[in-house]
């Protein structure tokens, strides 16, 4: 690891160097410190049913990434695994080079809005202050400084007028922005967000994506579970396609192909028109000529070959 790309552009410009690819045994002891998120052989199962199977995932710092896949693909579970919220059957997760459980302070989290009861008796400002509870430590109460930070975060999401409003009286989009503000006060380096744009109006969605891009531009790494395939390439610069296994991962331009999407979603992708048939990113050396279709779960290195495969297969449609 000679260079540490801090921005996604840097990462994209150096496709040949491809830091998200597995680098082999040499650097295992360092656990890939140049990566914001590095997952090795992760398997998570609920009961006998595997939810995530043999996941290898690398997210370079400074990207705004989307995790996309069909229902039940394990998108939320992937995020929860990184946050240490679900038991891991096998594998390792490293955040900025260290085991994830040691790095929770550097991770900000936006859960699904519907995961909580919004009839809870509290105000918007109070919910945002909960983002500071981790830094406060046990027993200490939030004070004036925390209130001020929370208010600034509400202002950032355009919600300062609603600071003292009951959360039950906020609209869905407003509740979502309160959750975003709570993650902002966490002042994290890696943000994990579970469907932050589900069920919000168009204005809020624009507002949220602007905010996410701003976070990325400030050098933060943002990984978002997203459900709308149409907007994915416009909003994000990095893509993880997931369906229990990793289907493909890498820069948006290389991974967002019809073939990859079809592999992630099975046959249900026919409605989508106007997708690029193949990636227009440069083909990394070494990957070219790997003619056989990549096996699922062993994907990062194979994005280019998949793109090639797509190009040859695309006349079928």
């Amino acid at each position: 690891m000679l260079q540490q790309p801090t921005r996604h552009q840097a990462a994209r410009d150096q496709v040949a160097y491809a830091p998200w690819e597995r680098s082999g045994g040499a650097n295992q002891a360092m656990h890939e410190p140049s990566l914001a998120l590095h997952i090795e052989d992760l398997t998570v199962s609920y009961g006998y049913r595997p939810v995530l199977w043999d996941i290898d995932l690398d997210i370079p710092p400074g990207v705004l990434g989307a995790v996309v896949g069909p229902n039940g693909a394990g998108k939320s579970t992937l995020i929860k695994a990184v946050l240490g919220m679900v038991p891991i059957a096998a594998g390792h997760i490293y955040v900025f080079g260290r085991p994830h459980r040691e790095q929770l302070r550097r991770i900000g989290y936006v859960p699904q809005r519907t995961s909580v009861d919004w009839d809870f008796p509290t105000t918007a400002l109070d919910v945002v202050m909960m983002g500071l509870y981790g830094q406060l430590g046990w027993i200490r109460r939030p004070g004036r400084a925390e209130r001020e930070k929370a208010w600034q975060a509400l202002k950032q999401v355009g919600m300062e007028r609603f600071a003292d409003r009951q959360i039950s009286q906020l609209s869905g989009g407003q509740q979502q922005r309160v959750f975003l503000a709570r993650a902002l006060v966490q002042d994290a380096d890696l943000y994990l967000m579970d469907e932050p744009m589900a069920g919000v109006d168009a204005t809020t969605e624009r507002h949220i994506i602007e905010l996410l891009k701003e976070l990325r531009n400030r050098g933060k790494t943002v990984l978002v579970v997203h459900h709308d395939l149409q907007t994915v390439p416009h909003y994000f610069d990095w893509l993880v396609l997931l369906n229990v296994r990793i289907i493909a991962q890498g820069p948006m331009s290389q991974v967002y192909t019809l073939e990859n999407l079809r592999r992630a979603y099975g046959g249900q992708i026919l409605l989508l028109q106007g997708l690029p048939a193949a990636g227009h990113g440069d083909t990394p050396p070494g990957a070219a000529g790997a003619g056989a279709p990549a096996e699922a779960g062993d994907s990062g290195t194979n994005t280019a070959s998949q793109a090639t495969a797509t190009r040859t297969l695309s006349p079928e449609r």
Binding site: D117, P121, D126, M130
Partner: protein, 376 residues
């Protein structure tokens, strides 16, 4: 009321009242967290499960001493809670079914043991059946000390771990993402609820104890906008209904205390559900009517404006009959309301025409605003 005064100055009565107040505050405060975490039924399982524990404690100690009974109740409660957890996690039973199964089984065992003890005519068993429905007069000064200690412990824990309990009640997932040991906090909260249930058994009884957890908190939720307020109100409601039920049961000996306390608590809850501002049934009904009237008024305004424009005259006055034809009998009160707001004004009837209504300039502006909003 000399009779009531006599009762209030009596030593046993003061004991009972103090006990009821302590219990009410504690169960109200802890019940707030149980209700918000949607775990109200856990209190029910814990209290019903306590009965066999009480009986076994009695059999082992050979008499009705408080500590063996409390310890037995706690042990049985813990066993029940564990069983619920095991059933939920390792069987196909849903949580509510698990709670129901465990609750009824433990209660059945407890009832069998209770009848066994009563039929054996064991010494010192008198009053053991008061654990079923509660008996305030049975509270001894020593019991009061235990209740005070448990209440101090419970309230102290809530004060110390305020923000922790608040977060696990609102968003346990987020708490876990911060690296908190959420299960530890949950266990602490559940253990405290179990303690509150156990010390309340003597006064309220195993059958109805769950109401002391749920009712004050549910009532408080109606009035509170913040968790702080809800906790304080639930404590006050709990203490008030506890004391009220106790006074009535002491004034009319022979009436079991528990049901009276529960009836008082339920009364507070019903009043809160109906009359509380914003969340009350009554308030919401009024609000719905107002909203409907506002929508109706807006439609009439826009129609008047469009009619006037169709006639090429913004000052055009529409006949009452015309409006009635569209809106029926509803139109009259709506027009009066609009008139009160200064948006329309009536014109005196003219020859060949009935009552007419004309938009004021404010009414025209408002109708225009609504029209633009509608087109958005």
């Amino acid at each position: 009321m000399p009779e009531l005064w006599e009762i209030l100055t009596d030593f046993t009565v003061r004991n009972a009242l103090l006990g009821a107040a302590l219990l009410g505050v504690l169960s109200g405060v802890l019940g707030t967290f149980a209700v918000l975490r949607e775990q109200s039924l856990l209190g029910d399982a814990l209290s019903h499960a306590a009965l066999p524990g009480i009986c076994i404690g009695f059999l082992i100690a050979g008499g009705r001493h408080l500590w063996p009974l409390v310890l037995g109740a706690l042990a049985a409660g813990a066993a029940a809670a564990l069983l619920v957890l095991l059933l939920t996690n390792h069987s196909r039973l849903k949580p509510d079914a698990s709670v129901g199964a465990v609750l009824s089984t433990f209660f059945a065992i407890g009832t069998v043991l209770l009848t066994y003890i009563q039929n054996r005519q064991l010494p010192g068993q008198a009053g053991l059946d008061s654990f079923l429905f509660g008996q305030a007069a049975a509270i001894l000064p020593a019991d009061l000390g235990v209740m005070a200690a448990v209440a101090a412990l419970g309230l102290g824990l809530v004060a110390i771990f305020w923000k922790e309990f608040k977060l696990i009640a609102f968003d346990p997932g987020f708490a876990r993402s911060l690296g908190w040991r959420v299960s530890l906090l949950e266990a602490l909260l559940t253990a405290m609820i179990a303690l509150a249930v156990v010390i309340g058994l003597q006064m309220v009884g195993v059958v109805l104890m769950v109401a002391m957890i749920i009712a004050p908190a549910a009532a408080a939720r109606q009035w509170a906008r913040r968790l702080e307020t809800m906790v304080v109100l639930a404590g006050v409601f709990g203490a008030a209904s506890g004391m009220l039920g106790t006074i009535v049961s002491l004034a009319r000996p022979g009436l079991a205390t528990g049901p009276l306390i529960v009836l008082a608590a339920t009364g507070v809850t019903v009043v809160s559900l109906v009359f509380a501002p914003q969340r009350g049934v009554l308030w919401q009904a009024v609000q719905r009517r107002r909203t409907r009237a506002a929508i109706e008024g807006g439609r009439v305004l826009v129609d008047l404006l469009q009619l006037a424009r169709a006639h090429g005259d913004e000052a055009f006055a529409t006949e009452q009959g015309m409006i009635d034809a569209v809106y029926g009998a509803d139109a009259q009160p709506v027009l009066r309301q609009l008139e009160k707001q200064g948006l329309v004004k009536p014109l005196p009837p003219q020859l060949g025409k009935g009552q007419q209504w004309q938009l004021t300039s404010a009414g025209q502006a408002e109708a225009q605003r609504l029209l633009e909003k509608r087109e958005e």
